[in-house]
Each structure stands twice: as C-alpha cells, then as structure tokens.
C-alpha cells in the first residue's frame, strides 16, 4: 500500500484517503505483510488510532460522519489491544464475539477488495450490448383507468417523497455507534481499575477537545496510552506490593 510508509514501529499514514475503517485496517495489516488475526490486529491498533486522530483533527464537515465509522471499529481494536497487553483480563462472551467478528469482517472485506479488482479489470471492456430501444409498429393509444389527475398527483408526490435527504440517514447511524464506544471504554476502565487497583478516571478525561468527535478520539488515545503504562505498572505492582497510588502524567502522544 503506497499510503503507508514503513517505519520502525509506527506506520505513518500520509494521505487520509481511506473510505472506511476496514479498508484502513486491512491496509495496515497488509503493509506489515501479516495474516488477519488477533495478534496482527493488536499490532496495528496504535497506527489505526493515530489515523483516526488525524481524521478528527481535520475540520471539514464531510469527515464528521465518516469518523464515527472509524471509531466504531476502534472500540473492538481497544478490546483486542487490552487483551494482548493484559492477558489475564477477562472479556465477556459478547466482547470475544465482537473480536471474532471483526476478524471475519476483515477477511470478508479482503476477499471483496481483491475481487473488486477483477471486476474493475473486466467491467466495460467487452460488453454484450442490448439493441437500441425500439417500438416495432406505430403505438396504439392504450390508456388505463388508473391514469387520472388524482392518481398522477399522488404518484408524483410519492416519487418526490422517496428522494433521499442526505444528512438525515447518516446521523441516525452515527448516534448508535457513539453509545457503543462509551460503553466499551467505561466498562473496560472499571474492570481494569478493580483488576489492578488503581484509578485513572481523571486520566481518561479529554484534554481540551473541541468537539464531541474529537473528545471520543482523545478518550481512545488516552486509554491506549494508559494501557501501555498499566502494563508497566503491573510489573511494578508485582515487584513492590506497597504501590498503592500511581500518578500518571498527561500523555503527550502514544
């Protein structure tokens, strides 16, 4: 994938041209020449998050709806990452299913993406044409009682009513997705808190986020950074049992 430049640990996504989260995710996995599985997904989570952060910082209106799709997938990636960093973290059956289904979706998407190249290469190259529209003999006026002023008026209003109004459709979907992000993060936060006996409620508060979208992304970013720290923290906890309170500084970056 030429959008992704190889680096030591972080893949910098240069041009934000991914239409959807699965496309982005697949390109990250393929750029590292990995198979689609939990391990590879955990590996690319940080890259994924840095990409959606760049998306949410892009202020153009057009991106706002799009970001929500990316965030939705981010929730599952967080689960996968959490699991890989904290192997003793217990996930619910529902969460395990979510992880499994993301893997499947990505595999399906990979199949479709590859086959869409075949479609592209064959589409319109050698066409089986239909004959031009023709009416064999002179038309004979053949009306039907269903043609009258009132039926025509109701038909046209039906047609006009069915013309989609762009914004509405997308927003409805968006709202549902935001809820699921909050659920995942809140519940994971609580479980980890009790698992390792520390509080990071303050930590996950967003830092000067400008919009809702941006705040969500901040939450994810903070959370992932936190996870990395917690992993280090766990080792400390095992070594020195007296460790009760860990002060965590505001992260600069992941």
């Amino acid at each position: 994938m030429d959008q992704v430049a190889e680096g030591a640990s972080v893949y910098r996504v240069k041009a934000p041209t991914f239409e959807g989260p699965l496309e982005l995710l697949l390109s990250l996995v393929e750029a590292r020449k990995l198979f689609i599985n939990e391990i590879s997904l955990a590996d690319v989570t940080n890259d994924y998050i840095s990409y959606i952060r760049s998306l949410s910082e892009n202020k153009s209106d057009k991106h706002i709806a799009d970001v929500s799709y990316f965030i939705l997938i981010a929730t599952t990636l967080i689960l996968i990452k959490s699991k890989s960093l904290l192997p003793n973290l217990q996930l619910t059956q529902d969460e395990e299913e979510k992880i499994g289904s993301l893997e499947h979706r990505l595999k399906l998407y990979q199949i479709i993406k590859n086959s869409s190249v075949d479609v592209k290469n064959n589409f319109g190259v050698s066409i089986i044409f239909s004959p031009l529209e023709r009416v064999w003999s002179d038309p004979v006026f053949s009306p039907d009682p269903s043609i009258n002023i009132s039926s025509m008026a109701s038909c046209i209003s039906q047609v006009l009513a069915n013309v989609p109004k762009e914004k509405e459709v997308l927003q409805e979907v968006e709202i549902k997705k935001m809820i699921s992000l909050e659920e995942v993060i809140n519940s994971l936060t609580e479980r980890m808190q009790s698992a390792i006996g520390m509080s990071f409620r303050d930590f996950s508060k967003s830092h000067g986020a400008k919009g809702e979208q941006e705040a969500k992304v901040h939450v994810i970013v903070s959370f992932l950074a936190m996870l990395e720290l917690v992993r280090g923290g766990i080792i400390d906890v095992i070594q020195h049992n007296t460790f009760e309170d860990i002060t965590i500084n505001k992260p600069q970056d992941i």
Binding site: W136, P139, F141, S142, I147, I156, V159, L160
Partner: protein, 181 residues
C-alpha cells in the same frame, strides 16, 4: 468475427433498416462483400426466428412471418396489461416535468427506468422528441392523447402543478451538482 456475423450484430443493434452502402462503410468492406455476406446471413438465419428483409438497397432484421400470430398476441398483452405502480410513477414524472431525459427520470426515481419507458411508448402514453437545446438528447413527454384522456389540454392545468414542478426542479438541481463532483 466474419462479416455476416458483424452485419447481424449491427442490424440487431439498430433495429431499423440500413442501406448496403451504410453497412459497407461502417464495416470498412466493399458493397460486393456486404452483398455476399448478406446471402450467407440469410442462409444461416433460415433455421431460426429471424429473417433478413430486403427492400431495394436496404436491409432490416425482422421476425419470421410464421411467428406473427404469436407476436400479435404478445403485443395485445403488452398494451392491455394493468399499469404497474412503477409505470404510473414514471408517467407522473414525465407528465409534470414535460420534456425530461431518461437519466433525469432515473435520478428522480432512484432506479433505472428503461423497460418502463418502452412500455409507455408502445402504449402511446408518452413520446420521444429531440431536445431543442441539444440535438443529441432525447426528451420524453406525454402524448396529446394522454393529456386529453386526463381531461386537460396542457400540463399547467393540473391542480398543484406549479408547486410540484418547483420541487422537481430542485431535485434536478441536486443532480447537476452531484454529477459535478
């Protein structure tokens, strides 16, 4: 692909008569070659449903005479069948936007309308005219018979016409902006 097959494809596509000279030019062949190929084509068609009809210097692909009772009955079926909801909706678009292209109809309905248009044409409910502002474009409009059947002499007489027309034009505006990007 041999010449006779090319001619068959051409005639099937056009659905109207073509002169030998036209065919020869399109296929970069001599008139003599075309004549010979037409002979072969007539032979190879002899077992199927189609026939090559020759009139002076023109040919057209038609349906074998033995099949005409069948075609008559289909035609009757076509023009007497109840109009579907989709057909009526298409007609209403053509009625209110008096003079509309196929792609405009498709856009406003959100589906492809080609077969429906053919049915409306066969029934004499709509007709095709050349767009006065662009001779390559074909416009569809209701026939005079259709208006008369509805008891009006012009579209503007239909109650609520102005309002509906405004809404249609608005949708069509979106179409041009969408295509622009």
């Amino acid at each position: 692909m041999n010449l006779e097959t090319q001619i068959e494809g051409l005639l099937f596509y056009k659905g109207e008569d073509m002169t030998i000279a036209e065919i020869a030019k399109l296929l970069s062949a001599t008139k003599e070659d075309v004549e010979a190929a037409l002979g072969n084509l007539a032979n190879s068609l002899s077992t199927g449903a189609l026939v090559l009809i020759r009139k002076d210097d023109s040919v057209i692909l038609g349906i074998r005479a033995e099949l005409s009772p069948l075609i008559q009955s289909i035609r009757k079926d076509e023009v007497t069948r109840d109009l579907s909801k989709a057909t009526l909706e298409t007609l209403s678009v053509i009625l209110y936007k008096n003079g509309v292209t196929r792609s405009e109809i498709d856009y406003i309905r959100g589906v492809n309308s080609s077969f429906i248009l053919r049915n409306l044409l066969v029934r004499g409910l709509i007709e095709k005219v050349m767009d006065p502002s662009d001779s390559r474009r074909v416009l569809y409009r209701p026939t005079f018979d259709t208006l008369a059947y509805m008891g009006v002499t012009s579209i503007e007489q239909i109650p609520g016409y102005t309002e509906v027309r405004k809404q249609i034009d608005q949708v069509m505006n979106n179409m041009t902006t969408e295509n622009d990007n």
